[in-house]
């Protein structure tokens, strides 16, 4: 199929240092002003002073109706790519072809003026985002209903609470109907309920056949919305494929933590004289090593270690971290005596229907707490696991399609019954 977006060898160079620095003082300004004509000519000639390639050799094609997620660490070039696609900044080299109108949502509330009322800002912001006056009038009621600010529609937005402000801003943007929608990390606004609403609106947009390019650090949102993802690293597209694969690779690369970790050389392995950790891996039930799992399957974490002395007593612990907090920790129930020196394996099974959607970073430790607590091994972020919900209805969420909060997502039993007339 003919691509709706086609990007060919696009690169973007930024000049760093003096030329892009703001001149803040009058003295500096005057010096600059005197040099101005010269400096401007010089810049065009020798741009080799200090440059940064925010994007390099980016080539990509997007078919109509595709929803593509862009992921990567800060500074990888995601926002620069979006800015080029929305014509805010020009590429240094290369060419982009787009069919149809492009709506870009790089920020909510662009062009909002604090002195103007909610009503006035809806029109102003709508027109700035590329809607016609007629479209806005048609959708006006829908917009204020979505923003839940009916009562304050004729109040200047400078008197709004920040929540109201953001809701109104997103409501306008959400009613944009371009053929191509370019969205930067803007969904992280408002409270959880409003975020869900926004995500739902994005889902509608993608189901409506719109082409969407979506930058987010919210991996469950990317998994939910996008069938395809691109991984950017230092301005290059390093991976382009199915969302789950790309997210796993991203985690592997950015935390240098993959589905397994192995130390071949025992002397280099982490641990103490008496005990060395040789390998950690995440596996399926059948023993195959995985970096991605669904919420509906059990996951095994395997620790392989070697003891060099007899009669060691210790236990293993595994900690699952996600969303910046500890989801849970699990330890071997008792400290076991490891009589003979040699190679041991400990496996912990995480049952199905426990992990929530998202990325887990796994810490492992081996320790004894009899008498003085002593750690043999204590390692953070050793392996990573990306968990997603295939949305088959067979999980803790049932047929509920929106975001489910929490670091775990256990499948619990619900009962409800009729107790008689009220």
């Amino acid at each position: 199929m003919q691509p709706i977006i086609s990007v060919e060898n696009v690169a973007k160079r930024y000049t760093l240092g003096k030329t892009s620095a703001r001149t803040d003082t009058l003295r500096e300004s005057l010096v600059d002003f005197a040099r101005a004509p010269l400096a401007m000519i010089r810049n065009r000639r020798s741009s080799s002073t200090e440059t940064l390639w925010a994007l390099k050799d980016v080539t990509l094609k997007v078919a109509p109706g595709e929803v593509v997620g862009l992921i990567g660490r800060n500074g990888a070039g995601k926002s620069t790519l979006l800015k080029i696609l929305s014509r805010i900044t020009e590429p240094t080299t290369g060419r982009v072809e787009l069919y149809g109108r492009v709506g870009s949502l790089l920020e909510v509330g662009t062009g909002f003026h604090p002195e103007l009322t909610g009503r006035e800002n809806i029109f102003l912001n709508g027109v700035i985002l590329g809607m016609s006056h007629r479209d806005i009038r048609k959708k006006f009621d829908e917009i204020i209903a979505f923003a839940e600010i009916e009562r304050f529609i004729d109040t200047p937005v400078k008197r709004y609470s920040s929540g109201m402000y953001v809701r109104l801003a997103f409501a306008v943007a959400a009613h944009l109907e371009p053929e191509i929608l370019v969205v930067d990390e803007v969904l992280a606004v408002g409270d959880l309920a409003f975020q869900n609403k926004c995500l739902g609106k994005m889902e509608d947009a993608s189901l409506g056949g719109r082409t969407v390019l979506f930058v987010s650090h919210n991996m469950p949102a990317i998994t939910r919305l996008c069938s395809r993802a691109l991984l950017l690293e230092s301005g290059r597209v390093v991976m382009d494929g199915a969302t789950n694969d790309v997210i796993s690779t991203y985690l592997e690369r950015s935390f240098s933590a993959g589905h397994s970790r192995e130390w071949v050389d025992q002397s280099q392995a982490p641990g103490t004289e008496e005990l060395k950790l040789m390998a950690v891996s995440v596996m399926r039930q059948d023993g195959s090593v995985v970096s991605t799992a669904t919420v509906a399957e059990p996951v095994l974490v395997k620790l392989v270690y070697v003891t060099t002395q007899p009669s060691l007593k210790f236990r293993c612990a595994v900690v699952f971290n996600t969303q910046g907090t500890c989801a849970f920790a699990t330890v071997e129930p008792t400290e076991t005596l490891h009589d003979k020196p040699g190679r041991y394996t400990s496996i912990v099974k995480v049952p199905c229907d426990l992990l929530a959607e998202g990325e887990y970073m796994i810490n492992v430790s081996i320790f004894t707490s009899r008498g003085i607590k002593q750690h043999y091994v204590q390692l953070q972020n050793v392996v990573a696991l990306h968990v997603y919900d295939p949305m088959t209805g067979d999980s803790a969420r049932g047929d509920y399609a929106e975001r489910l909060a929490g670091v775990v997502s256990p499948r619990l039993e619900w009962t409800s019954e009729y107790e008689g007339p009220a």
Binding site: G65, L124, E203
Partner: protein
């Protein structure tokens, strides 16, 4: 959610407008784009006017009050005390007819030169032809200008000055004035993105400019042999002829020719400069 059953794109691609994004060419003006964004242009003007008089007690009255008060002060100090000759016209009317185009110009430059910088958040977050911002800043002042112009009617009745056929030149003079202002502001606003010095220099520049423009006096005061130099300031020709159109005195055709040619030159230069600078606006603003 079943991704396989997503409906295909609504329309075939060939029906949709194609946008090509490439490293830009400053000599190409993108006229279709300017036209496509006309609604935004109106809204920018509307916003400027709306915001300026929000939370003011007198609101739009200021548009007339500003030149009227200046006229009063000028009349007392220059007209009555310093006895500046007024070529046989009522001095207050001479000043007001000079202040009308001058106030428009100085206000437009004051706000317009900063317009890109004050709208930085728009420039870094959405696309639209950037030139709309400085041009809309001029447009907003044009509305003020029109209102202040209406105040001339009671003034002319009071001083018993009858309109003449010279008034027919007024539309052209207003066009020229607007055009000149657009040229200057387009140029200054783009320069201001790169060098904030512009914002500092402008108030001073505008103040000096007032004295080399026939606002508080008539250009008849300038010795004949220096008039060619004097009229190199395009505003001098515009203001003097603007006054002639309203008060019915003789036009300075040479001065008008100077102003027209210089305005045209400045406008072309400014547009080219703007297009060249525009490419880096979002990166350096």
């Amino acid at each position: 959610m079943d991704r396989e059953t997503r409906p295909p794109a609504l329309k075939p691609l060939a029906d949709k407008p194609l946008t090509v994004i490439e490293p830009g060419k400053p000599w190409k003006m993108n006229f279709p784009d300017l036209w496509r964004y006309r609604e935004l242009f109106y809204f920018l003007i509307w916003r400027d006017i709306k915001v300026r008089y929000k939370q003011t007690a007198l609101g739009i009255v200021w548009v007339v009050l500003q030149p009227a008060l200046t006229t009063l002060v000028f009349t007392v100090f220059f007209g009555v005390l310093a006895r500046v000759p007024s070529s046989g016209k009522p001095y207050p009317l001479l000043v007001y007819t000079g202040l009308l185009p001058w106030t428009f110009f100085s206000n437009a430059v004051g706000g317009g030169a900063n317009s890109l910088v004050t709208n930085a958040s728009l420039i870094t977050k959405v696309y639209f032809p950037r030139m709309l911002i400085p041009v809309a800043a001029v447009g907003a002042r044009l509305v003020d200008f029109a209102i202040a112009l209406l105040f001339l009617i009671p003034l002319m009745i009071y001083f018993n000055v009858k309109p003449t056929l010279n008034l027919l030149m007024l539309p052209f003079l207003i066009l020229l004035l607007t055009w000149f202002s657009v040229g200057i502001i387009v140029w200054l606003s783009a320069l201001n993105v790169r060098f904030r010095d512009v914002g500092i220099v402008i108030p001073m520049l505008v103040q000096l400019w007032l004295f080399v423009t026939p606002v508080a006096y008539s250009s008849d005061l300038i010795p004949r042999k220096f008039q060619w130099l004097y009229f190199l300031n395009p505003l001098a020709g515009i203001v003097e002829n603007f006054r002639a159109a309203i008060l019915g005195s003789d036009f300075h055709w040479t001065a008008l020719a100077y102003s027209t040619v210089i305005t045209l030159f400045i406008f072309v230069q400014a547009a080219y400069f703007f297009r060249r600078m525009e490419r880096t606006f979002s990166d350096i603003i």
